[in-house]
């Protein structure tokens, strides 16, 4: 485990609890580090992206891994510069595929080497990243709930040919 202890100069004011071990991992060593865990019998538990752009100009990525036998959670914390892509670990853990897509669509954080980095939960073509702290929602559309309101224009269904 010490082999992956590639610590980066990251702040220490964010204590992590709920894991047997939480360590900072440099983005460049992420794939290597997760492979060590994969071979040690860990399963992919979760991946979280935290927007720390305002304070530090980075995203904090938190990967947690766990073991079935004698559960001991290992958390990887990655201090990822907002502009640089993070190496994808979807080749190591299949679960990372969807999680990375989610981080990409919600934060705009790119992952290098991802086989299919596209929208997962948001509609295809969404151009905003809603979980960014800088995101402000467009005003909610108003609705007309009166029963006599004319039906909305129905362009999607042209009249059938008879």
């Amino acid at each position: 485990m010490d082999a992956l202890g590639a610590s980066v100069s990251a702040p220490t004011e964010h204590p992590f609890s709920g894991a047997a071990e939480a360590r900072w991992v440099a983005p460049g060593r992420l794939v290597e580090a997760s492979r060590v865990l994969r071979e040690a019998g860990y399963f992919f538990e979760s991946m979280t992206c935290v927007d720390r752009i305002a304070a530090h100009g980075v995203f904090e990525l938190i990967y947690t891994f766990n073991r079935w036998e004698a559960a001991s959670r290992v958390a990887f914390r990655v201090w990822a510069p907002a502009t640089e892509p993070v190496p994808s670990i979807s080749g190591v853990f299949g679960a990372a595929n969807w999680n990375e897509r989610e981080a990409w669509e919600f934060y705009g954080l790119a992952f290098s080497g991802h086989p299919n980095l596209t929208w997962l939960l948001l509609p295809e073509g969404t151009e905003f990243h809603p979980l960014l702290k800088s995101f402000t929602a467009p005003p909610a559309s108003s609705y007309d709930d009166s029963l006599t309101a004319p039906p909305p224009p129905d362009d999607a269904h042209p009249p059938a040919h008879h």
Partner: protein
């Protein structure tokens, strides 16, 4: 089953869009199937149809205000999710919980787990084309829902957890009614075995279908009954005991085959273990307050210390994790919900190829997906 080598030759195969409106996709899942005849070549889940941005909502609400959201992630075992959020916040804020509330939470959560499994059995058999077990399961489930309603006032989307206890106490008559419900469940089990588990058609549809290997489960982070059906005795209640669970005896039912039948069997056995837990908990139910005296409950604005915390519980579908990032404010800085259905669905891309359309329905059903939980 597979009779030809896999191919994606466009002339040889065609695409079937299963869902998002389809009787067996349990909500709004869309499966993009590439088929050769009836054989599945590739299966790609398309999700997000019921994305309600729970994680964004969490960032804009106080810890108490987020309570009603929790049970809407997985509306079939909402109690467990509700308590998970409460416990995660309690743990991070260091709020003490009275004994009675701890045990009561276990009782309510386990009843909710049984209700969830019952609904699953019914819906799964419906997927396999047997409509009658569904109604029997609903009869049993109704008894549980009525019991839970008598405590929480709600039938499905509970918001009954409070930081430091519960919103309402279990009344004096509750243990008697709970035991009545348990007796009703017990009486029905042999019937389920005879009607479903022994049935030759069911066995043929379920045995050997949709095998998930241990390695696939590890790679995708599959948990819950789906994982235990692949022979792995992993249960958060045992692996990282929380709440009052350490004081109760129960087993983790597992089955090595990893097929649809194993997942069915595990869930059926799990209901029995839940009943075991509930009976012990009813026996040990302590008196005293149900909400810590002088506790902040929801009345005072709660602020959590700066830090990041991961908290996990065992929901009816598996490992439910809450990663909570606090910057010291009254609202979470970030809340990530690691819902069990999400990896359990992702793994199907690997489990489905080579099976038939009918099997796809069985496999999909067997993983017990709740789509709002996947989409959050």
């Amino acid at each position: 089953m597979r009779t030809h080598p896999p191919t994606t030759d466009p002339l040889d195969t065609y695409t079937l869009n299963m869902g998002p409106q389809h009787p067996s996709t349990h909500g709004v899942l869309r499966l993009l199937l590439t088929l050769r005849g009836e054989e599945i070549v590739t299966a790609e889940p398309v999700i997000g149809y019921s994305h309600r941005a729970h994680e964004k909502m969490a960032e804009n609400r106080t810890y108490a205000q987020f309570l009603p959201n929790t049970s809407r992630q997985d509306y079939l075992s909402g109690m467990i999710y509700n308590f998970a959020w409460v416990e995660a916040v309690e743990k991070m804020a260091g709020i003490p919980v009275p004994e009675r509330a701890l045990v009561a939470r276990v009782i309510l959560a386990e009843f909710n787990r049984i209700a969830s499994h019952l609904l699953w059995i019914g819906a799964f058999l419906l997927d396999l084309g047997a409509p009658t077990p569904f109604l029997y399961c609903w009869d049993d489930r109704e008894a549980i829902l009525f019991l839970l309603e008598s405590v929480t006032g709600s039938r499905l989307t509970y918001a009954s957890g409070r930081f430091g206890g519960l919103a309402r106490d279990l009344d004096a008559d509750f243990p008697r009614r709970a035991r009545e419900v348990i007796a009703k469940l017990r009486a029905r089990w042999p019937e389920y075995d005879r009607l479903i588990e022994d049935n030759v058609i069911f066995r043929n549809r379920a045995i050997g279908v949709g095998v998930l290997t241990r390695d696939q489960c590890r790679s995708y982070g599959v948990t819950g009954p789906t994982l235990r059906g692949s022979g792995v005795p992993y249960d958060v209640r045992k692996a990282e005991p929380y709440g009052a669970y350490p004081r109760f005896e129960f087993d983790i039912p597992t089955r090595p085959e990893g097929d649809v039948f194993a997942r069915y069997w595990v869930r059926v056995q799990e209901m029995r273990q839940s009943v075991r837990i509930i009976e012990q908990a009813l026996d040990q139910l302590p008196g005293g307050p149900f909400l810590e005296p002088g506790s902040i409950g929801v009345k005072k604005r709660l602020k959590l210390p700066v830090g990041t915390q991961y908290y996990a519980v065992e929901s009816a579908r598996g490992h439910y994790g809450i990663l909570l990032v606090s910057e010291g404010g009254a609202e979470p800085y970030r809340a990530k919900f690691r819902t069990p259905s999400y990896p359990n669905l992702a793994v199907l891309t690997e489990a489905m190829p080579g099976t038939l359309v009918a099997d796809a329905v069985a496999i999909l059903g067997s993983t017990d997906l709740v789509m709002p939980e996947v989409d959050r």
